[in-house]
């Protein structure tokens, strides 16, 4: 900020960087450094003059003195503290590999300058994470620096925390001693170093069971365990950011199974800490991060959801955060305030989503905060994609309630933004929107009719072939929900919009089981009534039977067999033509006989199979003689007879009814 005649001096300083005199270059770098530190406007001004690439070239120039290199790196580091455009300009100049090489030098001052600049770049979130792990020497050096001076160790830990993004990165760090080095840092008396080490540990163990085990078993002083040390930090440290970092690390260890959900560390330390950090009055960013971590910790554990929901007015606190929208008319409110508010909304929605995912009483508690549905709708309608997704996830949890589907959810008309979300390109949006649609389209949901009027069948049918398997699954599931107990017009619309050929594509044995199950479920619902079965079989009976047979021949799971048999039960209740088609299918009878003979099949599947046989053998249906002879030839009758010995009364009754149908033929003959 030393001021000078700005226009002239900027140019002369930039020109000075190209001077053949070393001293002149050093003087200019220092002047630029002192000019830009503390001033984003000055940084932008120099950036527009193209000074950054020249600075980078000075660092790599072999003629540059050590002093010049250090000052230049420091100056680049100052640009990295600037606007997003400044940071982008620094990154575009390809300085990161240069700095990573600098970190491996022996000159302590140079290493310090390089590592501070790298830390700033990586904390911005824009630096390429993979570069750190491209050279194993760099990783080893960064780990070695965890044992050097506190500031350098802190920078190293922060760089590693941001650069560690994949399973490979995590495993690489574990294998070369990062955990042991971080263990020392976590026990340091310096709060900033402890904080940085905890952030690094969190990145290391996130969703990685192997890494979590390594961390949990890492040797620390006095025979203590790492989770105990981190718990002590959580309890004793005063800085809220460090408390959060400790709570986050322990939450990740819990989710990977290294700490049990019912351990006192989680129930008496971590969860209460996260709940307190979500309270009003805390720093907004910290609240948002705490809410996200709380959501993650509780999403798979009903007991923790219950404990959190009962804790310290957590739900009202989270809802109150949604109400704290910045005042647009105030001069003191800037872009950053709105950004933080959106982060808070995202965190609050995610936390509410986890808390209300399982228990009805918690859902009612959430809805009793009257403003919630309004905020969910506002989130769904907004431009911020993360908030949109989080609001939709919250809605998904709440829509698991039959009562809320019929009341608050319908009244809020959230089906409108959900319908719009089904037409977006963003995959994450589609995943969550389709999963909400599965609930909104249930037979007892009044939103179903509204969505039907908005051509939801077309929107969802378009997603059935999406490359993302979760979207495919949810789309088929939504259609299955829609087809259940629907009238003929809706089923006809599903068949014509989706197309039976596309449905059969989903009914191949090599399709992932979850999608196949739902596709079969959809088929069951489309052929529920006899006339519906007649219609489908009339159009594409052979193809359908081929698909079903192929599935049964592929050694499927019991659940899949059950679904296939449900389809067969429905279509075997149709017209004689259809029943003949089933009976005459070349391989189906063989497969049915195998099921009846197999001892490992569930009672339900055996009963379903018998019902199919019974329907085909029904003497009241024309052509039963021919069908019974065919089934006898295929060994089906004998297989059914063997089932007479079963101890299950329901199966016994079905077997008896089936054999009675065969007996009526004997009597006739």
């Amino acid at each position: 900020m030393p001021s000078f005649d700005h226009e002239v001096s900027v140019q002369s300083l930039v020109d000075g960087l190209f001077s053949p005199e070393l001293e002149t270059r050093l003087l200019c770098v220092r002047s630029i450094k002192n000019s830009i530190i503390g001033s984003k406007a000055k940084k932008s001004s120099f950036m527009l003059m193209g000074v950054i690439p020249r600075l980078v070239s000075l660092v790599t120039d072999v003629q540059s003195s050590r002093e010049l290199v250090c000052e230049t790196v420091i100056t680049i580091g100052s640009f990295a503290h600037g606007t997003p455009e400044n940071i982008q300009a620094v990154l575009t100049s390809n300085v990161v590999p240069v700095l990573l090489k600098g970190v491996c030098q022996s000159d302590a001052e140079l290493v310090s300058a390089c590592i501070k600049t790298l830390r700033t770049l990586y904390l911005s979130g824009s630096a390429p994470a993979s570069l750190v792990f491209e050279d194993s020497q760099v990783v080893k050096q960064l780990i070695a620096l965890l044992s050097s001076s506190p500031l350098t160790a802190q920078c190293s830990a922060l760089i590693l925390s941001r650069a560690t993004q994949t399973l490979e990165h995590q495993n690489a760090l574990c294998s070369i001693g990062a955990v042991e080095a971080l263990a020392s840092c976590v026990q340091s008396s310096l709060p900033k170093l402890v904080h940085a080490a905890l952030l690094c540990l969190s990145s290391l163990v996130y969703e990685n069971k192997l890494a979590s085990n390594v961390v949990s078993q890492a040797a620390v002083c006095d025979g203590d365990t790492m989770p105990s040390v981190i718990t002590r930090v959580l309890s004793c440290v005063q800085c809220y950011e460090t408390k959060f970092a400790a709570a986050q690390c322990l939450s990740y260890l819990c989710r990977t199974g290294s700490i049990s959900y019912d351990s006192s560390v989680i129930t008496l330390k971590v969860l209460p800490a996260l709940v307190r950090l979500c309270k009003r009055g805390n720093d907004l960013k910290l609240k948002a991060q705490s809410a996200v971590t709380l959501a993650y910790l509780t999403e798979d554990c009903m007991e923790l959801q219950e404990q959190a929901a009962q804790s310290d007015r957590l739900i009202p606190s989270l809802v109150a955060s949604l109400e704290d929208r910045p005042d647009e008319t105030s001069d003191l409110v800037g872009h950053r305030h709105f950004q933080l508010y959106d982060e808070m909304r995202e965190g609050a929605f995610l936390a509410l989503s986890s808390l209300s995912s399982t228990r009805e009483d918690i859902r009612i508690k959430v809805i009793s905060e009257r403003v919630v549905m309004g905020h969910i709708k506002s989130g769904l309608n907004g431009d911020n994609v993360e908030v949109k997704i989080a609001a939709a996830r919250c809605l998904r949890s709440l829509s698991r309630s039959t009562k809320l589907l019929r009341t608050a959810i319908f009244d809020a008309e959230v089906w409108k933004p959900i319908n719009e979300m089904l037409c977006l390109r963003d995959e994450q949006c589609l995943v969550v929107a389709t999963s909400v649609a599965c609930n909104l389209l249930l037979s007892f949901s009044p939103s179903r009719e509204k969505l039907l009027m908005k051509d939801v069948i077309r929107s969802i049918s378009n997603l059935v072939s999406h490359e993302n398997k979760n979207i495919r699954l949810n789309a088929v599931w939504a259609l299955m929900s829609l087809a259940y107990e629907s009238n003929r017009e809706v089923k006809a619309q599903i068949k014509s919009t989706l197309g039976m050929s596309r449905l059969f594509e989903l009914m191949c044995p090599d399709v992932e089981q979850s999608v196949l199950m739902k596709a079969l479920g959809l088929t069951v619902n489309l052929v529920q009534e006899s006339d519906e079965a007649d219609s489908v079989m009339g159009e594409c009976g052979r193809v359908l039977l081929n698909s079903l047979t192929a599935i049964l021949q592929s050694s499927p799971s019991q659940d899949l067999i059950e679904q296939v048999l449900c389809v067969l039960v429905n279509i075997s209740s149709a017209s004689p033509t259809v029943i003949d088609m089933i009976a005459n299918h070349e391989h189906l009878d063989t497969v049915l006989a195998e099921i009846l003979r197999g001892e490992h099949h569930s009672i339900g599947n055996l009963m379903a199979c018998c019902t199919v046989v019974k329907n085909m053998a029904d003497p009241a249906v024309e052509g039963h003689v021919h069908r019974q002879n065919m089934m006898e030839d295929a060994g089906i009758k004998i297989a059914v007879q063997k089932l007479e010995k079963t101890s299950n009364p329901s199966l016994q009754a079905t077997v008896k009814e089936t054999l009675d149908h065969f007996s009526s033929l004997d009597l006739t003959l």
């Binding site: 900020m1 030393p2 001021s3 700005h6 530190i37 984003k40 420091i74 501070k116 170093l193």
Partner: protein
């Protein structure tokens, strides 16, 4: 000081307090080494370099911070107290180039102080130019600084700035505020606590006494911090 405090407490305690209190005071022993550490830490953080050296020699205590940092602090303090803010900025950047980039409040206050120095020297044109080129952008980025900027600019409306309602901005105390802020930032950047233990203890004593008074509890009150005088405080 602490020993005198304890003696006073015992004197007060004889007449009016429980015997357990007296016992505790009599038996409590504060190690001299701990006292020495507290004293040298206070002297360092307040910038009394010569006092630190003398104390170090006499009491054979190692200073808890790098003496080099202390010397830099003194140079910066001297520059600010003399009104050479730009020199102070360069010195701060030499100690830690990241401080002013990461502490926008301190960065603004240094610039603000430079503006006040220009106004004090009667350089109206320079002040206006500086405000326009340097401070306006900061005010735009951080609206919370606008009030302070407006107060400084208001001084320009007066021929004799000492007659303006904001004339206190031109006093030495304003420079000392900036010194204090810079010191705290420098210590924090070196992983040191910005305030000394002694400072914190004194604040704790004042706060604790206030709490006891509001709860109407009798206790020996420290009424004179400099002399360590205790007065019995009853309801």
């Amino acid at each position: 000081l602490f020993r005198r405090l304890m003696d006073e407490l015992v004197q007060c305690g004889k007449g009016e307090f429980h015997s357990s209190w007296e016992e505790k005071i009599k038996t409590y022993r504060l190690p001299r080494s701990e006292l020495n550490k507290v004293v040298v830490e206070y002297l360092l953080k307040e910038g009394f370099r010569e006092a630190v050296l003398a104390f170090q020699a006499e009491a054979k205590v190692e200073p808890p911070v790098d003496m080099k940092l202390l010397e830099e602090q003194l140079k910066i303090r001297s520059a600010v107290e003399q009104g050479s803010i730009q020199e102070a900025v360069v010195l701060v950047n030499n100690v830690d180039p990241e401080i002013l980039d990461t502490n926008s409040k301190l960065s603004f206050h240094l610039q603000h102080q430079h503006l006040l120095e220009l106004i004090q020297h009667g350089d109206v044109e320079g002040a206006l130019r500086f405000a326009q080129e340097e401070l306006a952008a900061q005010g735009e980025e951080s609206p919370e600084f606008l009030d302070e900027l407006e107060q400084a600019m208001a001084l320009l409306a007066y021929e004799d700035a000492s007659t303006s309602p904001f004339s206190s901005l031109l006093e030495r105390s304003q420079r000392l505020k900036v010194v204090s802020e810079v010191n705290a930032a420098l210590l924090s950047s070196q992983n040191q606590e910005p305030t000394s233990i002694l400072n914190t203890l004194m604040k704790l004593v004042v706060w604790s006494q206030h709490q006891l008074e509001t709860k109407s509890i009798a206790f020996p009150k420290l009424t004179n911090i400099a002399s360590g005088k205790l007065t019995s405080c009853t309801n």
